[in-house]
Symmetry: C3
Subunit: 272 residues, 3 copies
């Protein structure tokens, strides 16, 4: 189902500029390379427009919030060029500054995809502020009981922003204004390493940059990739009797080893 | 002995804000998650007070020295809230700027714990400047001959600052103004990776944030955790015929796998 | 052949200050420690001169381009002290800012070694601008057909700058104005992790700082070290059925395990 999308990443090796936080930047660069893309992490305001002009995709990760000027300059350039821009509203809801910047970005930038945890997406969609730092609040967990409400919120945010919305967690949701997928891959150990979310956002950008006419499907393919690789990585962690740090390495390892058969064997995707 | 302290970290999952250097920040976030805490690395001066106001602990790591304004703003807020603030005076003694900032911090901030290598702590206590960059000077090694002098210095610095003092190295010392523990766990390979010290400081903060009434014991528990995990990680490095980089992963792996039995089996702690 | 050079690194444990980008800084610190050197990553303009004054080597990595003021201050101090300064012109050719800064650095700084991929070195030597972000352009690959031209360019750049030139890629070239080595070690998986180039530059600095009278040979030794460790790391990746992220760890592992016999057994170095 996603075979072509993945092949295009390796064939085109899109250059992705990532303006991101210093906590997980190395993981983001490595997952791009593992998938077959080429990373660049330029954020100096004197050059971001030059770098974006040779890129095929742009990631705006709000973690490194002090780079907001570079973010605005580069998104403007990327929108002019009509290349995919992916937004990761890290810890939206956790400070007034983050809320203000999210409002400013949503007003001024056309994002192809917005990817966050449920607390972050709720903060964008509803203005609620229950985010616990960079992690989702427990009260926000997606369950059988509230899934229809969550999908409705995602579709509504998509209609408002024109972006595909990706909500990651135990259950993942990918939605545009009229369609939604529910994806139930992944493993709880992904929440015990930093960077699972940032890496997913970056991977979505690589998939979209290589398939700019298939943003919705490419986003779903990237979400499935991370979830399935998380499952393989957990099995390897058990087999080698290691723990969370080795798991992080195995997660990236499997992105580098993955083919579409390995995804399709385990993929748990439903149209909602 | 430390069973409750460790259980509280997993049960409360305290949110720890860490203002730290860009070299080891990813390791610090991952060790917090491995221990069961929740990391946040906010340092933008426009939001640090907001983020500290929802946190249960704060780490000030002097590595990223250019964030000194964010450090001062956030410590003031944390002291008002009476949450634990842990200080890591990275490379104290290695430049005039670092010495000046240490003096300023010690005058204006109430730290629950100060954690450094012997050269850094000597620099704070005595004003000596023998630090070799971020590593302890060889001349400063703790031995049987000078241990009583080192403990006396630590107790005296604790009396002056009101902080628990943790000195890490081949022999670790944890002291307040009247008590001291000597801890002889760990492995020399811990000195062959970057971040052993930064990770320990961060782990101390998680333990203290989950046990704010037991700062002295929580600090000792975190020091034992790192030492014991270093020993297990070294054994795994030998078993897998790997080297220093894999050792770093195994160190964090064991923090994620550790229970109090695994600590108590190997713990070499003496009241001094 | 390189036995003394490697032994001197472990015996002297030179302090290396590295002004570098936030993407691969952790890997650079860890490879220095693995080789037996001592890393420091000071870049605050208020202290870089103090830190350089106690260092034995300095790395200027253009990735973190916004630190250009710290770079200029620290290189001036290092040149006064006559310690080796190694330049990594990351993504030279990819933006006007990078080209301008490279010109400024080459005019004002005496570099012992300049290390880049073929696109970056061409950009410095010829003013061409084909760099694809941080990766070499495919069109720039070194082949049997153009190797003599590449060596000639390297020698000419060495003559102009007074620096040893190291070009890394599938085939590596190390040249001064009259001599050149061709080195054919390494593995393609090195291009699938971030930091291979940055780590090599940093390792060159450690080798040169411990052997300041043998810059040409020390550079070649570091290039061979990385290539040979890449080969061992790839074999370990296959043996453990892992992928690119584990490969990165194994690469650093082998630097920590390497002795001169392990290098000489696999080294493919020719005088050109």
């Amino acid at each position: 189902m996603f075979s072509d999308i993945m092949k295009n990443v390796k064939a085109k090796s899109p250059l992705i500029n990532v303006i991101t936080n210093f906590v997980t930047v190395n993981d983001c660069a490595n997952i791009l390379l593992a998938a077959g893309a080429s990373p660049c992490m330029a954020y100096d305001i004197r050059e971001v427009e030059d770098i974006v002009s040779i890129s095929q995709g742009l990631v705006i990760n709000l973690g490194a919030i002090e780079d907001d000027r570079a973010m605005l300059l580069s998104t403007k350039k990327a929108n002019e060029m009509k290349i995919p821009v992916i937004f990761d509203p890290v810890a939206a809801g956790a400070s007034r500054l983050r809320n203000d910047l999210c409002t400013e970005f949503l007003q001024n930038v056309k994002f192809s995809v917005i990817r966050g945890n449920i607390s972050e997406i709720k903060s964008l969609a509803l203005g609620s502020s229950t985010t616990k730092g960079v992690d989702a609040a427990d009260a926000d967990e997606i369950t059988e009981n509230n899934i229809s409400e969550v999908v409705k919120m995602a579709k509504s945010l998509s209609e408002k922003t024109g972006s595909v919305i990706a909500i990651s967690g135990k259950t993942d949701v990918v939605a545009d204004h009229q369609r939604a997928y529910i994806i139930k891959n992944g493993h709880p150990m992904m929440a015990l390493i930093t960077g699972s979310g940032c890496m997913l956002t970056t991977l979505i950008c690589a998939y979209c940059a290589a398939n700019p006419d298939r943003i919705f499907e490419s986003t779903a393919a990237a979400v499935c990739t991370m979830g399935v690789c998380g499952e393989y990585a957990y099995q390897k962690t058990i087999d080698t009797d290691t723990g969370t740090s080795s798991f992080r390495n195995y997660l990236i390892d499997y992105v580098s080893k993955l083919d579409s058969e390995m995804i399709e064997e385990r993929m748990k995707l439903e149209v909602y």
